[in-house]
């Protein structure tokens, strides 16, 4: 806990310094400080690590690791200034330890007038759907690609928003080498032309252009120092129907991601939805070819990404349905997703007293079709154009298929239930690089039953039970013996009991049990032939947690084991290592 104290002490000093700076500024600039205000938030996560070789959990030399941040925003009329302190003593496992240390990770000042808005310092922004430009941050992912530079927003007329951005991107405590600059224009035709003001058809057009510059110091290849990307977007809506479509193109950009090929890239996205009371339908289509776009050619992981290519699969909320999360393949993919939401009305056969909600979701993503550039050059050969492909092409190679169904039903004032079924075909070999022993595919079936029992007003017990089954397949050993193995880690069951007392308390216990297979021989084979790093053990991942909230402050403590896996938020993922220990999380907004 010494580390925690040290951290809190540093925060106290840092915030005092900031207060002094702000009061100094307000005295100097003759700003009436009384008119302004400071808001902010604070979060601290700390975890102790114990060793458990059966699940692959490791202890750390520091005994405890912690990540924390504090945002302060000062607002006075049209003027806003903000600063974020971040502290990593040392960085928790699963985040890059380049974050180790403490400092000001983000600071900016904005002046927002009627027509102009100017920001200097760090900022986050998105052009269109983000296909060529999006900077954002997510603390849970350790993701922050903020721009550090300047941004101007200009609204010359109602219905027109023009933006210009320039800067470098954040890379841990440093900045990326590349300079990123971009312009974006959004034109809402119905607001621009009075003749369209009353029209039922709403049309918004936007266009953007982004350029990155990075010097070429490669001894072998002549690499383009300037890479340009452009995108056009059309938004159409009429009544309950809306359609958003965007096409993006990127000039040749040899990088570590595409194995230094000189091919240009492109992406196409359609988002559409229709809704009337009680019914909603969503359809998405996406096609991506060679669209990795970073401000340094050699950047890896989630670093220095300039654009965002959303994964068009459902972002699952239950632990086992999210066991195999899909992340966009920036090198190439073609996919669709459809979803239907329906509410059976109250007082009908299927609706009952309170109505019944159902959701059906389907997504399928395949690889694009790549053709060799000539008969002597293999596909993807470094230093060449790599391959050719036609717009919207698709190969037979399945990357991910997810069909899932959810029913939510309130039975009475006391009981509410949610049932989920999911069938998933997940190309683990293509997406995560392992699983060739079972031809790379994981075929899983997952069931969830989530029961809410309102024991008395403000006291609710939630019982969440889940089960995931992967397929058993034949495996030929080196001795030419054919044995049964389960795909990946085989079967899981999970039970969680969560008791909440509004408005302050919550308590939870849960266990995820990786029993692999009821057949002991199959379970043993699975571990022997797939997971040699662990001794065979049907592992339990037990954990308990309690939390206290008051207003905008919350403290949560938990103890237990966490399985190794992948945490995804909004289609960006990071691997989470197995962990065993005590965790505390404190957050507050003020």
């Amino acid at each position: 806990m010494k580390v925690l104290n040290k951290l809190l002490f540093r925060y106290k000093i840092a915030s005092t310094v900031l207060m002094l700076i702000i009061s100094g500024f307000s005295a100097w600039a003759q700003v009436d400080f009384k008119g302004g205000n400071i808001t902010g938030n604070f979060k601290l996560d700390a975890q102790t690590y114990r060793e458990d070789s059966t699940i692959g959990a490791e202890k750390v030399a520091e005994k405890m690791l912690s990540n924390s941040y504090m945002n302060l925003i000062y607002t006075n009329g049209n003027f806003t200034a903000g600063v974020r302190f971040e502290g990593y003593f040392n960085t928790m496992l699963g985040y890059d330890n380049n974050y180790d240390g403490f400092g000001i990770a983000n600071r900016y000042a904005t002046y927002a007038g009627e027509m102009f808005e100017v920001t200097v310092g760090n900022f986050y922004d998105q052009f269109g759907n983000g296909l060529i430009f999006r900077t954002y941050e997510d603390k849970d992912l350790g993701y922050d690609n903020s721009m550090d530079g300047a941004r101007i927003k200009f609204r010359p007329l109602p219905g027109i928003i023009l933006k210009g951005v320039i800067g470098n991107q954040r890379l841990y405590w440093e900045k990326g080498e590349g300079i990123v600059r971009g312009v974006d224009g959004e034109f809402a035709l119905n607001d621009l032309f009075s003749s369209l003001a009353a029209s039922d058809n709403r049309i918004t057009l936007s266009g953007s252009f982004v350029n990155k510059y990075q010097a070429d110091e490669n001894p072998i290849y002549i690499l383009p120092e300037n890479v340009g990307a452009g995108a056009g977007m059309l938004n159409f809506s009429r009544g309950n129907f809306s359609l958003a479509t965007e096409y993006a193109y990127k000039s040749q950009d040899p990088s570590a991601d595409n194995n230094l090929i000189y091919k240009s890239g492109s992406a196409f996205l359609i988002n559409s939805d229709y809704s009337v009371n009680g019914l909603g339908i969503m359809l998405q289509y996406k096609w991506v070819d060679n669209m990795s776009f970073r401000s340094e050619r050699d950047a890896q992981l989630n670093n220095l990404m300039i654009n965002y290519l959303p994964a068009i699969t459902k972002n699952h909320a239950y632990a086992l349905t999210a066991m195999y999360p899909y992340a966009t393949q920036v090198d190439g993919e073609a996919g669709i997703q459809g979803e239907v939401f329906y509410k059976f009305k109250k007082e009908t056969v299927l609706g009952g007293t309170y109505g019944t909600n159902i959701t059906l979701n389907y997504a399928r993503i395949q690889d694009i079709k790549r053709n060799p550039i000539d008969s002597s050059t293999p596909i993807g050969q470094t230093g060449t154009d790599g391959y050719t492909t036609s717009f919207l092409s698709m190969s037979d190679s399945l990357l991910n298929q997810d069909i899932n169904f959810e029913i939510t039903k309130k039975i009475s004032e006391k009981y509410k239930v949610v049932f989920v079924y999911q069938h998933l075909d997940f190309n683990q070999l293509a997406l995560q690089g392992h699983g060739k022993e079972y031809n790379g595919m994981v075929n899983s079936n997952t069931f969830v039953a989530d029961v809410y029992w309102r024991i008395k007003p403000k006291h609710t017990l939630r019982i969440e039970s889940e089960a995931l089954f992967t397929k058993a397949v034949d495996f030929t050993t080196q001795q030419n013996e054919v044995v049964k193995i389960k795909q990946d880690f085989g079967n899981w069951v999970m039970l969680m009991l969560e008791y909440s007392v509004s408005p302050h308390w919550f308590f939870a216990v849960s266990d995820q049990f990786n029993y692999v297979s009821t057949n002991k021989k199959t379970a043993e084979n699975t571990f022997e032939y797939l997971h040699r790093q662990y001794p065979f053990n049907r592992n339990h991942f037990f954990s308990m947690a309690m939390g206290y909230s008051k207003g905008a402050s919350r403290i949560q403590v938990s103890y237990g084991k966490q399985r190794e896996g992948i945490l995804c938020v909004g289609g960006v993922c990071r691997p989470v290592p197995a962990a065993y220990g005590f965790n505390i999380s404190v957050s507050s907004t003020f």
Binding site: F42, L279, G280, I312, F341, H459, P503, S549
Partner: protein, 171 residues
């Protein structure tokens, strides 16, 4: 260990009370999207002098959906008795923002819905995680906020809405 935890909590509370004295918080000016793609600025939020609730949620967030569903059952009564307006801000990004309109229709919710696809409004309001709820008085000041959701929290919220509607102070 408990002593340290207590110290941490105290520290956070000290910040909370320390900073909350520094002027009243109003709604920052941030561009949001309507579910049909129109840009709208948060500074235009108004309810003619009646209280407003701003709730941050996402289609993939279970407690958020539970909270909005539970509030939906009471919403007609709330509106009738206090004139309150609930504005639900979805932080679904490009991946799932086209789910928002059909999702809301499928649930039959009657809230005013906006999308914050790059979390700009979420950052401006200092929201660490969803769900997070703000109560705004008739003058546009943030008078109360709450993070996370436990079944039944809407009861406490409504007590506060009633006070604010009557012009009473929550301090």
């Amino acid at each position: 260990m408990m002593k340290k935890l207590f110290a941490t909590l105290l520290f956070v509370m000290a910040f909370y009370f320390g900073f909350s004295q520094l002027g009243t918080q109003t709604i920052p000016s941030v561009d949001l999207k309507t579910t049909d793609g129109k840009t709208i600025n948060s500074s235009t939020f108004s309810n003619n002098g009646k209280p407003m609730v701003i709730n941050f949620w996402a289609t993939w967030c279970k407690p958020c959906v539970l909270e909005l569903s539970n509030m939906d059952e009471l919403y007609d009564t709330w509106v009738k008795e206090t004139g309150v307006k609930v504005i639900a801000i979805s932080i679904d990004d490009t991946r799932s923002m086209s789910r928002v309109a059909p999702f809301v229709s499928g649930k039959g919710w009657k809230y005013e819905i906006y999308v914050d696809p790059n979390s700009d409004f979420k950052r401006a309001m200092n929201v660490p995680n969803v769900p997070h709820t703000f109560l705004i008085d008739g003058k546009g000041n943030v008078v109360w906020q709450h993070t996370s959701y436990a079944d039944g929290d809407e009861v406490e919220l409504y007590e506060l809405i009633k006070k604010v509607a009557k012009g009473e102070s929550l301090k």
